[in-house]
Subunit: 438 residues, 2 copies
C-alpha cells in the first residue's frame, strides 16, 4: 500500500509544508484526531516533524476511501496525497486538500486517552507516551540542548575524547557503583569520565567527553536518575576562574540558542521564557561561606563545613534570576583530587553552578590537584589504593600543569530550561529506582 513516492507528488515532511504550498504532495503519518461535518472530514495528521490538518470533501474521494476515513482510529497510519494551501489558522500555517488516502494500518484502541493518567501508567507506556505533543516538545529541546553543548565546546577548540564506561577499580567506594563481571575481573560502570579527561587534556589541551553515567543511588527524588547523560570538559593550563568563565559563556550560549530555535516547543511546555532571557553574564556568584550565611539568614540551621542538600540549593538559587556560582567548598565535601584553596587550606578551588528558580545544581567543577606529592598524600588519607591511581599520578609526573574542568548534567539542565518539575520526562527512557522498563 505504501509503494515508492510518486515523482508527481513527492513525500514531504510536514515541517517542510510551507515550501510546497500550491503543489500536490504526499504526507505519511499517524492520525492524531479527526472530526466530521457530514460532507467534510477533518483529519489531523502527525508525522513526527509537525501536525497538519487534511480536509476531505465527500465529492472529491471515491466512496470506499471516504468510508475508510470515517472508520479510522487514533494512531492509525496513513499515506495521504493532496494539494497544500496556506491557512493562517492551521497549525504550521498549511493545510492539505485531500485527493487520496492509503490506510497503512488501523490502530487498536489507543491506551493513552485524553483523560488523566497516573505517572506510573504513562511511564509503563513510555514507548507510546513519546508521541504526545508535550513529550515531543521536551525531547526536541533535549536534542537542541545536546547539539548546542557540543557545538559550543567544538567552537572553543575542545576535542571530543570519549572516556570509557567500564572502569577497573571501585576507587571511590562501591556503594553507588554498578558492578559487572568482566571476564575474570570485576568492572564498574563509570560515574564520571573526569580522571580520563585529565589524561586527555594533558595530551590535547582542551577536551570533553559526553556520555551516559550511572549512579546506583537509592534516591527517589525529582532530581535523580540512575542513568543520565553528562558532558565533562577538561582544560589544561586553566584555573578555576577560567572554567567559571567558560561555564558562564556556555550557559548563555545554549539558553540563547534554545530560545531562538525552540520557541515553539518552549511554548508547548508552558515555559516562562522571560526567566530564560535573564540568563545573561555576569551570573550571581558567592563564596561558600557567604552561601552559608545566606542559609542562616533564611532561617536554616545549616552547619558550616557540610555539603548543601537539595533544599539548601533551592533556597539559594531562588534568590537570583541568573544561575548562581558557589565557589570554594570545603575540601572535605569534594573529591580528593580538588586543588586546595591557597587562601584557606580547609577549602578547595571548586565551584558548583546552581540553576535559578530553585532548580539547584546543574554543574560541578573545579581546579584539579597539580602536585604529585599532595595527590599521593590525599589518596593515602582517603584509604584508597595507590596502585589503582599510578596512571593518574603519571599525569603529575610527566608535565603536570594547572588544569580545571567541570561536568554538566543534561537532564537537570533540561529540567530547568524546559521548566519541568521532575527529571523523569527529560530522557526518552528514564531509569529510576523501581523503573527499568520499558
Amino acid at each position: 500500500m505504501t509503494g515508492a513516492p510518486d515523482a508527481a507528488s513527492p513525500w514531504v515532511r510536514i515541517c517542510e509544508g510551507r515550501a510546497h504550498v500550491g503543489s500536490v504532495v504526499e504526507v505519511r503519518g499517524w492520525l492524531d484526531h479527526h472530526r466530521s461535518s457530514g460532507k467534510v472530514q477533518f483529519l489531523v495528521l502527525r508525522d513526527g516533524s509537525g501536525t497538519m490538518q487534511c480536509v476531505a470533501v465527500r465529492s472529491d474521494l471515491p466512496a470506499e476511501e471516504w468510508d475508510a476515513l470515517g472508520a479510522l482510529t487514533q494512531e492509525s497510519s496513513l499515506i495521504v496525497r493532496g494539494s497544500l494551501r496556506a491557512d493562517a489558522r492551521a497549525p504550521g500555517g498549511v493545510e492539505m486538500g485531500l485527493q487520496s488516502v492509503s490506510v497503512v494500518s488501523v490502530a487498536e484502541a489507543y491506551p493513552i486517552t485524553p483523560k488523566e493518567h497516573g505517572t506510573d501508567f504513562l511511564m509503563d507506556h513510555r514507548h507510546l507516551w513519546l508521541r504526545s505533543s508535550r513529550q515531543h516538545a521536551i525531547l526536541k529541546i533535549r536534542a537542541e540542548l545536546i547539539g548546542a553543548l557540543r557545538d559550543f565546546m567544538d567552537a572553543e577548540g575542545f576535542l571530543l575524547v570519549d572516556s570509557p564506561i567500564f572502569t577497573p577499580s571501585a576507587c571511590e567506594g562501591t556503594s553507588t557503583l554498578f558492578e559487572t563481571e568482566y571476564f575474570d575481573e570485576k568492572a564498574y560502570l563509570s560515574q564520571s569520565g573526569q580522571l580520563y579527561q585529565e589524561a586527555a587534556a594533558l595530551a590535547f589541551g582542551r577536551t570533553y567527553c559526553f556520555g551516559p553515567t550511572f549512579r546506583a543511588e537509592k534516591s527517589k527524588t525529582r532530581r535523580h536518575l540512575i542513568e543520565f547523560w553528562m558532558m565533562e570538559p577538561e582544560w589544561a593550563f586553566a584555573t578555576l576562574e577560567d572554567v567559571i568563565s567558560l561555564e558562564e559563556r556556555l550557559l548563555v550560549s545554549v539558553v540563547g540558542r534554545i530560545l531562538e530555535r525552540r520557541a515553539e516547543e518552549l511554548k508547548i511546555v508552558g515555559r516562562d521564557t522571560t526567566a530564560l532571557e535573564r540568563v545573561q553574564a555576569p551570573f550571581a556568584r558567592m563564596h561558600y561561606s557567604e552561601a552559608v550565611e545566606r542559609l542562616h539568614a533564611a532561617g536554616s540551621p545549616f552547619e558550616w563545613g557540610g555539603d548543601f542538600g537539595a533544599p539548601d540549593e533551592t533556597t539559594l538559587s531562588e534568590q537570583f534570576s541568573t544561575p548562581l556560582f558557589v565557589t570554594n567548598y570545603p575540601a572535605a565535601v569534594k573529591a580528593f583530587y580538588m586543588e586546595p584553596d591557597p587562601a584557606d587550606a580547609r577549602l578547595s578551588l571548586s565551584c558548583d553552578c546552581l540553576a535559578p528558580e530553585g532548580y539547584g545544581e546543574i554543574i560541578g567543577g573545579g581546579q584539579r590537584m597539580a602536585s604529585l606529592e599532595l595527590l599521593t598524600r590525599r589518596i593515602e588519607e582517603q584509604g584508597l589504593p595507590q596502585e589503582a591511581f599510578e596512571w593518574y599520578k603519571d599525569l603529575r609526573r610527566y608535565g603536570s600543569v594547572p588544569h580545571a574542568g567541570f561536568g554538566i548534567g543534561v537532564e537537570r539542565t533540561l529540567a530547568w530550561i524546559a521548566g519541568l518539575d521532575h527529571v523523569r520526562e527529560t530522557i526518552p527512557f528514564p531509569r529510576m529506582l523501581n523503573r527499568l522498563k520499558p
Copy 2:
C-alpha cells in the same frame, strides 16, 4: 608561575599562530624535543592543537632561563612568550622567537621513548601514549567522524533520541551480555538501541541514537572491542531501499568531510587518500546469493545459508573500490525482527555494508517486521518470552508502518577511514579481552 595571561601577550593556541604573526604572544604546552647549537636552542612545543618551534638565542634571555632550558626533559610543561614569525619550513608555518620562559613543571624521565615498544607496553601507558602525533591524528579523525555522522543525520531531519543503556531482560540470550544488579532486579547493558529507536521513529518519524555499546564476546581479533560506539538511525515509512540510499549518502558525506578537514591527520597516519576519494555513489551492491557465488569462485567452501565470517567479508570487500552492500541475508542469520523478503521467505530484507580494502562490515541494517501476527510468531519460534516484548509489539498494534534503519560502528568505520590494522587505536581507552586498564 602560570599567572593570568598578559594582555600585551595573549595566550594563543598553536593552531591559531598564523593569525598572530608579527605579535608577541604566550604559548602554553609541553616540550616535545629540543636541541642546542651552543648559542641557540630550538624547542619544539606541543600544546594539543599543534606543534611549534621556539628559537632561543642566548643573548636574548636571562642566564638562569637559558640554563633552565638546557636542563628541560621531554614532556616538561612550559609557558613561553615571544614574537611569532612566518617560516615556511616550520611545522604550521610559524615559529617563535623566545623572549621569556616559565617552567611550570620538569618531567621525570618519560617512559615512552623513540625506541620500539610492544603493544602491551603502549596500552598500559595509554594515558601517555595519547600524546604521540599518531594517536593525536587518529583521535582527531575520530572526533571529525563523530561530528560528521551527527551533522549528517541532523541535516536529514533525524532527531537524536537516546536509547537507554540499562535494559530489563536478556532478550536475545545472555551469553554476550554484561549483567548487573539493579536494586532488586537484574539489568543488562545494551548491545543495541534499535528496539527503542523503533519506538522513537514511530513517534518522531526519523530518529537516531549514538552511544556506547557492550558485547561480552571472547573474541580477540583486530575487529573486536568489548566497549564501542555505535550510531543507530531508524526511519518510519522507509524501506530497505530507502536506508541503503541513506547509508550511501552518509558514507560519501563523512568520508568527503574527513578528506577535506583532516588531510593533515590522514597524512600523519599514512593513509592512501586516493582509496578514500573513490568512495562515491553508486556503491557496489550484490544479493547474498551472488556473494556466496563470489566466495565459491574465490575457492571458499562457504555454504549457502550461513553468515559471513571476517575472512569472507575480507574476500568480498577486497574486490571493490567502493563500500559494498550485501543484501537479502538468510532470515536465520539475522535478528528475529527482520522483515521477510517477499521474493523468498528464507531471506530477509537486510543489508550489511562492507568497507573496501578488506575492512569488512561497518554497517548492519534492514527493514523491520511490520506485522504483529508474524512478529508474535517469530518471538514464539525463538523461544523468547512474549511478555518482555509486549511494549515492542505495541508498535505494531498502534499505527504499524514499514520502517527501516541501521547501526554504524564508529571504531570499525574509523579503522577503515584511517587505514588502521587494528581497532585498538580507534578509541581513547580501549576495552578488550584482558584489557580493562588504564
